[in-house]
């Protein structure tokens, strides 16, 4: 069943945040809404949650039209970028909040909150206040709080955006594992293509209030539907009229019909990869990403004359 978004539009004054967006999110999937800031991805998430009312279009969750349903009755768990922790409540009270609202029996609340704190590895922190937790712990608490109400869909708005790089990486793989154990339909908003690829099994690329492409991480990377998608989801360089991934630029010492002569501008050693800056005979710049071993064999130095070939490139109209 999942989530269906049909022709949803939303404006804020003159600014068009969503322009007739339609989308199918399959049941049990982990989908990333990926796009630059202002692309409409957060607005779309908030429309699904009922925190924003669309000007037109409809939102269907698990087969029910929820377009006019207030957030309270959507059965949606929402996690905010800045945690939205209830500062005046302990971790335990935060997680129990949704269950208390639903007037669940005390014993049941106690059991469920205990399980959730165990699940998010905060069992020892039940009586702390949010201010006494690290960012990563606060976000795990927020996740437990959202999961407590057994939501039909879990919505995460840039959930790792406020965390430092190490914690972010940890939480990504943790979220992935959590989703495997508990496959509730999950939608994650991010502007970080690496995060989208690492966490999601489906990616929705958005730009200028529209959906550019929907696909698996591999499809998005290998067969981008537009120049925007290609350059947003990975590094690109340009060779004549074609866009090319730098790791698809081959450097050869001897030329043939399929190659173009070029001069080496600079060589950067970045650990496992080597970045070679090149200048084509026409004066255009491009760069190539080559494995360490190939670099050693070629033994490139600035000023060397070489030949390049695009093993895969794409041209967009």
């Amino acid at each position: 069943m999942g989530i269906t978004v049909r022709n949803v539009s939303k404006r804020f004054g003159e600014f068009v945040a969503l322009d007739e967006v339609s989308l199918e999110i399959p049941n049990g999937s982990l989908t990333a809404l990926l796009g630059p800031s202002g692309s409409g991805k957060s607005t779309l998430l908030r429309v699904i949650a009922g925190l924003e009312e669309p000007d037109a279009g409809e939102v269907v969750i698990s087969g029910e039209d929820k377009t006019r349903t207030p957030p309270q009755r959507r059965g949606v768990g929402f996690v905010f970028q800045h945690y939205a922790a209830f500062k005046h409540m302990t971790v335990w009270e935060n997680v129990a909040f949704g269950l208390e609202i639903r007037k669940r029996p005390k014993e049941q609340i106690r059991k469920r909150v205990g399980e959730l704190l165990e699940l998010v590895q905060l069992a020892g922190f039940a009586h702390r206040y949010p201010a006494q937790l690290s960012g990563g712990q606060r976000q795990r608490m927020a996740l437990a709080r959202a999961l407590a109400i057994e939501p039909e869909v879990l919505l995460l708005d840039e959930p790792f955006g406020a965390l430092d790089a190490t914690v972010r990486k940890e939480l990504r793989s943790w979220l992935r594992r959590l989703h495997e154990e508990m496959p509730v339909t999950t939608v994650l908003v991010t502007h970080d293509q690496e995060e989208a690829m690492e966490v999601a099994n489906e990616i929705v690329v958005m730009n200028h209030a529209r959906v550019e492409q929907v696909g698996t991480p591999e499809e998005i990377y290998e067969s981008p539907a537009s120049e925007f998608v290609m350059s947003f989801v990975g590094p690109v360089t340009r060779m004549r009229d074609a866009l090319i991934r730098p790791h698809d630029v081959e450097i050869l010492l001897d030329g043939d019909d399929s190659t173009v002569p070029a001069a080496v501008d600079g060589v950067l050693h970045l650990g496992f990869e080597v970045r070679v800056h090149l200048r084509l005979s026409g004066g255009e710049d491009l760069w190539a990403q080559i494995p360490r071993r190939t670099a050693r064999e070629l033994d490139l130095k600035p000023g060397d004359r070489v030949h390049v070939r695009a093993s895969r490139s794409r041209t967009f109209a």
């Binding site: 925190l51 207030p70 957030p71 949704g98 006494q132």
Partner: protein, 259 residues
């Protein structure tokens, strides 16, 4: 660290000259005749009646301010309407206006010959009205910045967890505003029990009816009974201090949860 020492020395000397020594002098004057005399000075029927009216009115003012001040702050922060800026600047008027002018204004408006047909002058109600006027800004100005800082994410999170508007207000917003409301209420209380200018004209100062403690003190001084004036002053002082200390303790407790 000598600069720190110097700064501390100047601060303490200044505080002593301006606040502590005068307060000590009042306490000293009240105790000159011994505890027995102090007690009889504050328990004369007239003094007791004045104190009772003062504290009763102050508590009423605190309750009304806590509710209305929060409401006004809410409207000023969360609503947008034409003239909001104007309303916002009117809030501070009671602070800027000389209190005797306030008293006169209230007398003209709510006294005999009132143009709006409300005559509460020379009654205990007048005391409350006058005090409400001068203490209006305290709660509003304490709550306003807290409300502006309050993260609306919290309210949205509560909504997505199933909380209705009333529950969100009671369980999320109010607990976060409580320290500010208490702080504003404590200041209104302290200000109310000592207010003189705003009440002196509009209440008529009728002993046993509308005479508040500050006016009673003024009367004793005019009559040359300094120990009696000082004794009642010390009672007011003690309660003001209690309100302020209580406020600080509560705030300290709340602040422990903040990050």
């Amino acid at each position: 660290m000598s600069g720190g020492m110097l700064g501390r020395g100047v601060a303490i000397t200044y505080l002593s000259l301006v606040v502590l020594i005068p307060l000590a002098a009042v306490a000293w004057a009240s105790g000159e005749g011994g505890p027995g005399e102090f007690w009889s000075a504050v328990t004369t029927p007239e003094a007791l009646s004045a104190l009772r009216l003062t504290f009763g009115a102050a508590l009423a003012v605190v309750a009304i301010n806590a509710a209305m001040g929060t409401l006004i702050a809410w409207v000023l922060v969360r609503d947008s309407f034409r003239g909001r800026g104007l309303v916002n600047s009117i809030i501070d008027l009671p602070f800027a206006l000389p209190t005797i002018v306030a008293s006169l204004t209230l007398l003209v408006l709510y006294g005999p010959g009132s143009p709006v047909g409300i005559d509460v002058a020379y009654s205990p109600v007048a005391v409350v009205v006058a005090l409400l006027f001068v203490t209006l800004p305290f709660v509003v100005r304490a709550v306003q910045p807290v409300l502006m800082e309050l993260d609306t994410d919290m309210e949205e999170a509560a909504a997505s967890l199933g909380a209705g508007r009333f529950t969100i207000f009671r369980r999320i917003i109010l607990p976060n505003l409580a320290p500010a409301i208490f702080s504003g209420a404590g200041l209104s209380f302290a200000r109310s029990i000592g207010e003189f200018g705003a009440v002196v004209l509009v209440t008529g100062n009728i002993p046993f009816e509308t005479q508040v403690a500050s006016v009673y003190i003024f009367g004793r001084i005019e009559g040359g009974d300094i120990p009696a004036a000082a004794a009642v002053s010390v009672v007011l002082l003690a309660f003001s201090l209690l309100a302020l200390v209580g406020m600080n303790v509560l705030q300290g407790r709340w602040l422990r949860h903040e990050g």
